[in-house]
Symmetry: C2
Subunit: 208 residues, 2 copies
Amino acid sequence: MKRIAESTVRRLSLYLSFLEGIDRQGLKTISSDELARLGGTTSAQVRKDLSLFGSFGKRGLGYSVPELSGKLREILGLGKQWRVCIIGAGKIGAALARYRGFAERGFNVTAVYDSDEAKIGKRWENLTVRPISELEKDATKQDFDIAVVATPAENTPAVVKQVVRAGIKAILNFAPVQLSVPSDVTVRNVNMAMELEGLSFALSNRSE
Amino acid sequence: MKRIAESTVRRLSLYLSFLEGIDRQGLKTISSDELARLGGTTSAQVRKDLSLFGSFGKRGLGYSVPELSGKLREILGLGKQWRVCIIGAGKIGAALARYRGFAERGFNVTAVYDSDEAKIGKRWENLTVRPISELEKDATKQDFDIAVVATPAENTPAVVKQVVRAGIKAILNFAPVQLSVPSDVTVRNVNMAMELEGLSFALSNRSE
DNA sequence: ATTAGTTTGTGAACTAATTCACAAGCGCCA
DNA sequence: TGGCGCTTGTGAATTAGTTCACAAACTAAT
């Protein structure tokens, strides 16, 4: 399959969330034009995005809302259940472990790790914090799909090395560092400082 | 000034964080090549990014670490102090209000708003939760630069309308909806579901 | 059955972003 | 001072992403 741009995947996510809203409103079909309006893009963009995966619409009519939802869910790999471990039992880790939206979408947090002796063994939601040194061994049994890395910047490179050695192929990284991983490991970064600096830049450079 | 791409601004943030690390190690200069290696990009990209704002390097030598840090800070509008209000006194809002990194970088949270009667008046860190209906009035005195929107999806459009009416020109949006704002308002979205779906997509479509 | 009115799917055209590649500048050393 | 080794800054070339524009397909109405 042709390489799909990250921007395309983000838009597919967005379309799916719109479709879920539209579906709740009880509407049965939607046009690329309407979807574009909701997503702040163009109808051609919407059609091009979808056409990368097949042709799901009916000319003159638009797209069936439930059908397109289903297709997008399939394309995005939802429907499957994913096993997620959280690395770093700090504030962000805690917030994430409590986040209901995870499980709703098929992302099941099945373990929490930390390197801090003081935290190991503590109960956490319905999980017990385990030592990061056990990750590689555990992974052979639990077969994690995704690691959420929420560790202090300085520990992160070492932690990520262990995640990679454990054979995990997808990382959601909250640490404010750039991860260096083999090319078969996918990383998404969530970096608050960067977002704020983006706003700061915009505010500082308006109308020049 | 020429329009600067968001991807460029993100990289500038990244370079700055590397420079801060390099500076702590006590190194005085750095080449575009080294910066590129850290950021997972190419040296040409680094130089092109910087050249949009001036020429900060010395041929044969590279860039002075403190000088380039300073320039980047200036470009990104750090150094200034920004007034930030948080809208939505829920879990995300709470985590953000407690986040130390905000103030360190000049982002000062000076108010928290919510529409829930039960929350209004409660103390929160060193702030008191105020009714969102007062935002517009408060803004004339406090002059907020940035609004952090962390409200439930269904309330968000109404909330954002009030933020815009209050004259705030930058929004960091945590709600999983697409905001519709005038073109002079800058929005950055942080959307966990979207990031997870990106990983799910990558896992589902490996090596095709 | 024909026509009018929509809306898709997709090459082609365009625009934006990245990478190449090299002249020019700088420090160091003899 | 001249030559060598490095590294920048930047047009030109390339690659990636978006938008245009239109034939084809579908519905509904007459």
